[in-house]
């Protein structure tokens, strides 16, 4: 089908974009790879679309020791090429297909907040944040919303209708840290039936200092769990306990029971791989010191 009519705005700078969003009931258009299908299928019919891809300041991708800040206009493909954050890069390869990633944006995926999407889980497991801006009548005001407050429910984020997500911050991985992202989808590039993203950090003594996972497709938003100390180093046990904590639902693609099973299997794989990589990173750190 064809998208319903709308009025198109193409602001050139951030203040102009914020003023427009403050004045109209509209949606932000970035890559459009989730929004335009919804328009084509008439699942959404906003009266105004504000295209932010011509706002040059939103095209920034900043890498620091603390992490990576990704501007709202940065595509998946560019973040994959230049992002330099190993977990983000790995997750991006699971996002749809390369051709979709040429247009889709990282921040757009976060704001879209699909509960089966990979990038919200990455932001959540890392404890990252999204920077939101709005026009207060005289100037732009920004606030940083941490991941655990940002993903409110299925396809629902904390961004208000007059707010623009200008960037997202993905904290860098600590030393002696490994990561993994495993998922099962019916076809490569589809939204996953379930997926688990894991980050494991070892202490100087080689013991587990921190283990966090975020699960996708098994709740209204990414399900984050701290598994530090869980299973006493037995990842299969920790994964099984995790699978009893999630509350997936049945749909036409899979039953709740199957999704729960997947969480146990995928969490074990992800935790083992992350712990193995953390061990290797620890050895390299020790060898390099």
């Amino acid at each position: 089908m064809k998208p319903p009519p709308f009025e198109y705005h193409a602001p050139r700078d951030l203040d102009e974009a914020l003023r427009i969003l403050a004045g109209v009931r509209g949606k932000v258009l970035a890559g459009g790879q989730s929004l335009i299908p919804m328009l084509n299928m008439r699942l959404a019919a906003p009266a105004h679309l504000v295209d932010i891809t011509r706002v040059a300041s939103l095209d920034a991708l900043e890498r620091t020791r603390e992490g990576v800040r990704v501007g709202a206009a940065v595509t998946h493909a560019r973040a994959e090429r230049e992002g330099g954050h190993p977990l983000l890069t790995r997750a991006l390869r699971l996002v749809a297909h390369p051709v979709i990633r040429n247009r889709g944006t990282v921040v757009g995926s976060l704001v879209h907040a699909d509960p089966a999407a990979e990038l919200p889980a990455v932001l959540a497991v890392l404890g990252g944040s999204v920077r939101l801006a709005r026009w207060d009548g005289a100037r732009g005001q920004v606030r940083d919303v941490p991941a655990h407050e940002f993903f409110v429910g299925p396809m629902e984020s904390a961004a208000g209708p007059d707010e623009l997500a200008v960037s997202a911050f993905f904290p860098a991985l600590d030393e002696r840290t490994g990561h993994a992202f495993h998922e099962v989808a019916r076809r490569h590039g589809d939204y996953a039936l379930a997926g688990v993203c894991a980050v494991v950090t070892l202490g100087e003594d080689g013991g587990v200092a921190a283990a966090r996972v975020a699960c996708v497709g098994v709740g209204p938003a990414p399900v984050v769990a701290d598994l530090t100390g869980a299973g006493a180093g037995d990842w299969a046990l920790a994964a099984a306990a995790l699978s009893r904590r999630v509350e997936p639902e049945d749909d036409i693609h899979a039953t709740a029971a199957y999704r729960r099973h997947l969480v146990a299997v995928l969490a074990e794989r992800a935790l083992k791989e992350a712990a193995g990589l953390a061990e290797r990173a620890s050895k390299e750190a020790a060898g390099g010191a």
Binding site: K2, P5, G32, I36, A96, H97, V99, R103
Partner: protein, 159 residues
Amino acid sequence: MEHEITLVVNGAARRVRVPARRLLSDCLRHDLGLTGTHVGCEHGVCGCCTVLLDGEPVRSCLTFAVSVDGREITTVEGLAGPGGMSPVQRAFGECHALQCGFCTPGFLCTVTALLRDNPSPTEEEVVEGISGNLCRCTGYQNIVKAVHRAAELIAEEGR
């Protein structure tokens, strides 16, 4: 409200008036008469409408024409050179990589960009590269062969 935009399509600047909601796929087909770009699912799944936007493959059905004002687009009509069909096009013919042909324009655009970025892809990279394009006839085996054959042709002719 209509917007007057300029698209550089297959090397030629084209001025066109479109409503904001005009998809790039429809702009190419209806406004510019370039019906080589096919429209299958119209929500980004099938890949038939893939064109090159500033050289990168994108879904033209998930792109508003107005949002790519001023940019360069290559459609399947623009892949052939002055000397005839491109190596990718010839390889598809040679390997029998198409049957009904509906998906072919999307595959040709995707593969053209794939081989430009990665001139000798592995089997896995080929499958990953074309994973966003659906073909209901061939079973993909000959499409994968054609991608490898096209890589050979490009390498031979580049010498």
